[in-house]
Symmetry: C2
Subunit: 206 residues, 2 copies
């Protein structure tokens, strides 16, 4: 069987196809890099329409990443998908608490999601500047509430929960805030989208 076996060649050709199929649609350079990487990850061109990037989001994110910050995410999958070599190069670090046994216990006692309890703890950490929600609308709702109350002030919120119950509503709530955000309106999103957005930002720094 004859097929391309070089990873760099595969990625290059993929982005060429995406650009071709986007036709006449153009985006500002940095925004375009994020949107194309999300399409590369999902093979879903709808992300060209639903991805919304706050005007300050990319510059604020790059500033925090450049100084070496902590990134909190509500999913192990998003964490697994972020480029660890690129993170380490800038003394950045990603973590999640969703699997923490103490968090699981507390969530059970309070009858709320582990994502919410994990988010509470992450918001209490002042080195955590970027919050990446790829799964749980409950975590994004809670983050919005704490921002309203002035308890947390992120450099970037990547709010891309996926699903049928609360995902869309939580993202509509996010875009009413004055925080720098990147989101995907409607039901779509998820861990692969979340990781692709962070990786696109990291690759802009190379």
């Amino acid at each position: 069987m004859n097929y391309i076996k070089q990873p760099m060649e595969i990625e290059k050709r993929s982005f060429e196809i995406i650009t071709e199929e986007l036709g006449g649609r153009t985006f500002p350079e940095r925004e375009g890099k994020i949107i194309k990487r999300v399409i590369h990850t999902t093979a879903d061109f709808q992300y060209a329409d639903i991805t919304l990037i706050h005007p300050e989001a990319i510059s604020e994110a790059l500033e925090s990443l450049g100084k070496g910050c902590k990134i909190y995410t509500d999913t192990k999958m998003a964490m697994a998908g972020m480029n660890k070599r690129a993170l380490a190069k800038h003394q950045c670090e990603v973590y999640t608490l969703v699997d923490d046994p103490q968090v699981a216990l507390e969530a059970k006692e309070r009858g709320i999601t582990r994502s919410m309890v994990g988010m509470e703890k992450a918001m209490a950490d002042e080195n955590t500047k970027i919050f990446v929600i790829g799964n749980a609308p409950t975590a994004l709702f809670m983050l919005c509430q704490y921002m309203d109350e002035g308890k947390v002030n992120p450099s970037l919120v990547v709010g891309v929960p996926v699903g049928f119950v609360g995902a869309s509503e939580s993202k509509e709530e996010l875009i009413t805030k004055s925080v720098p955000y990147i989101t995907t309106r409607g039901r779509k999103g998820g861990s692969t989208v979340a990781a692709a957005i962070i990786n696109a930002l990291l690759y802009m720094m190379e």
Copy 2:
């Protein structure tokens, strides 16, 4: 803000919405569980049309999982997304070699993808009965070639690479084989889809 905070309630309501929106479309019970979990993970109803399940795939997979087998996957994200508690309950185990330093070195020397080298090593392990390809068409092409040569005989191939270069072609190659497979035709798929398929199978055993 008023929103559902109980995880079981959120999942139950999500599957109700998916069933409603699928309208009159029905699937055989076990196939339907897989397809609905993929839609739950992606919020993308196109998976109802592109998901293809070999008639023997579910029974063969459940038999191997029931005996406690090893699952190889080409992505850390798919591995992170599989339910470890459910795997452990059946003495099953998931692993990937894509991050193995020896694999990286060998891939560089040979000018091929790490996914291909990892796949070669996994195929040489006789306890690995299920192969889950969520990322690399190159890994799926190689698996097809080794099946043709009679070198490997999986219980299940979950072949759902995503993307623009080779993904669709590798899946069309897979469905010409007599192996039990689950695939998503065309460009779409990925790590979240791969993990959702394995989790749907694991939940059938509970």
